[in-house]
Symmetry: C2
Subunit: 353 residues, 2 copies
Amino acid sequence: MNPRLQCLRNKLKAQNIEGMIVSNPVNIKYLIGIEAEGILLLTRKENIYITDSRYIEMVQSTLTVIDEIIVNDIKDITEEDYQNFFSFCENVGFEEEYVTYAKYKEYMHKYRINNLIETEQIIEKQRVAKDQEEIDNIRKACQITDNCFEHLLNFIQVGMTEKEIAYEIERYFAKHGASGLAFDSIVASGTNSSKPHAVPTDKAIQVGDVITIDFGCKYNGYCSDMTRTIFVGYVQESIKSVYDLVLKNQKQTLEQMCDGANTKILFKMVNNDFNIHRYELTHALGHGVGLDIHEQPLIGPKKEILLKENMTITDEPGIYIPGKFGVRIEDTVLITKSGCETLTKSNKDYIII
Amino acid sequence: MNPRLQCLRNKLKAQNIEGMIVSNPVNIKYLIGIEAEGILLLTRKENIYITDSRYIEMVQSTLTVIDEIIVNDIKDITEEDYQNFFSFCENVGFEEEYVTYAKYKEYMHKYRINNLIETEQIIEKQRVAKDQEEIDNIRKACQITDNCFEHLLNFIQVGMTEKEIAYEIERYFAKHGASGLAFDSIVASGTNSSKPHAVPTDKAIQVGDVITIDFGCKYNGYCSDMTRTIFVGYVQESIKSVYDLVLKNQKQTLEQMCDGANTKILFKMVNNDFNIHRYELTHALGHGVGLDIHEQPLIGPKKEILLKENMTITDEPGIYIPGKFGVRIEDTVLITKSGCETLTKSNKDYIII
């Protein structure tokens, strides 16, 4: 059986869960490599993927014997089939953070399940540490993102709007092998940069602006995530000290990130240094990156998580002065045994265009 | 109180539901005009909107006295506040087709609710018939879409890829007042057009191709939806008869659409005519359009729904010859007392570029 599916089955077994309904398409993509509309059933003895006529051909040609998956066309499945899939299963798991209450009730009825059990992100937890194939995909997504940033430095001109820059990012990714945006790009210039979640506007780039560009692409479904804050024409003195403080902390965090590092302590170190300068880290210091742009672990003030080898996470401190400007610097990072490797490699010194 | 909220409250009251938790952002946008991250609580006596510091200012400036909504910052709300919101409420409604099972359990616990009641799309049903403001927005979205199509007819060249055309659609909408795409545009040329849900590829446009372009934008949150199938260089004889059959049925459906028309009969009329020519209508004939691109009613073979004045729906028959080509022609339509008004007005005769 394919190793990811086997690993999940072992974990379910350890919890006395004999079957599982996997509905979240991202989890299905992770487990069996299929991107389609469908549902994956892990029954007692079989792995069954149900989809419709639009996808059958593609699914059949993607799966191999090793996957050990039976593919069914939804139109061939009777009411009785549904009721038999989980016969002799005492407990069947489902994804309670993805499945709606209405679907939950539908599953209970359609599959005649006695105990539909919350699996508490069992697949998401499995996804946290990446294997070599996943790392290669994220590495490639980061490379394309670095190249896009280099292109942007030549592309951006005074007078251009934030929206135009955002479209150029999308266009570049599409032309250079990415399968799409990892998330809606943030291009925030001048005072707009003071909002961490700014949306690109029709504001034109002006001399003296800072521009925060937070963007990433997908490669084979895997995301990259990078932020750079750049300067137009010259660097305002008032911004310099904030930029230096953010960059110092971004780099110090990279030095601390390694197998075993405590996320809460990483967050606190940065926030303490910000506090000394009367600033505050108002969002997470970082988050996991993979098939989803936001995955576990969250590097925040609340939960203590120990980083592990082969996690891919972001390091993205930021300071925002309301109504004035903001600075955020972010890399996607691979945790290794002894430290970490920065997968996004674009320059982080003052960049003046 | 704002009339949409008042109408919902009346409907809830008629079902003995004393309160409601509204979580779906599209329903919140519909009810109170706010686009933010937050939750709307209809308690016994008050309407409460809870959001966070990022949105408070914008929310306060959007709402008026007429809305009768109390805005709260999530960080100011205590555990006790949550428990008190629905005190003296026997039944509290929620959106079972939007809320996950995990959230459902969280709500029960956080708000100390005894009976959390499924509301069976109560707000979605209210959204089906549009008011004047909504119709104006959809009309405007359709206008921009018509203009974009005219632009595309000059823009598309032999050698250009489907993806490039899809990006031009996005770029055009952004430049001409739309707030974004209503859905991912379909640009499917040559044999790709035989797939109803084709995704734009790197295939270049060739002489002899048909191109199916299915696209729409958002204006003030409201969607448009239009499809045209156009010809490159000349019209292949084999395609003509299919095009004529699709267009004839698209126009006949427009003639039948009016207050009181039966959706199942509309579907059957088209499918019967297709069957006579040994084709089949493999997808719905149409669907509601509004804040969501797919809303009620669905014009399909199963459910009988009577169209009503001020519904906005699509009329989109299509025929697909696997491995060869496809033809779909679609308009967004406003149902009136005596008939309907086509809101997308682009030419539907053979268009050769």
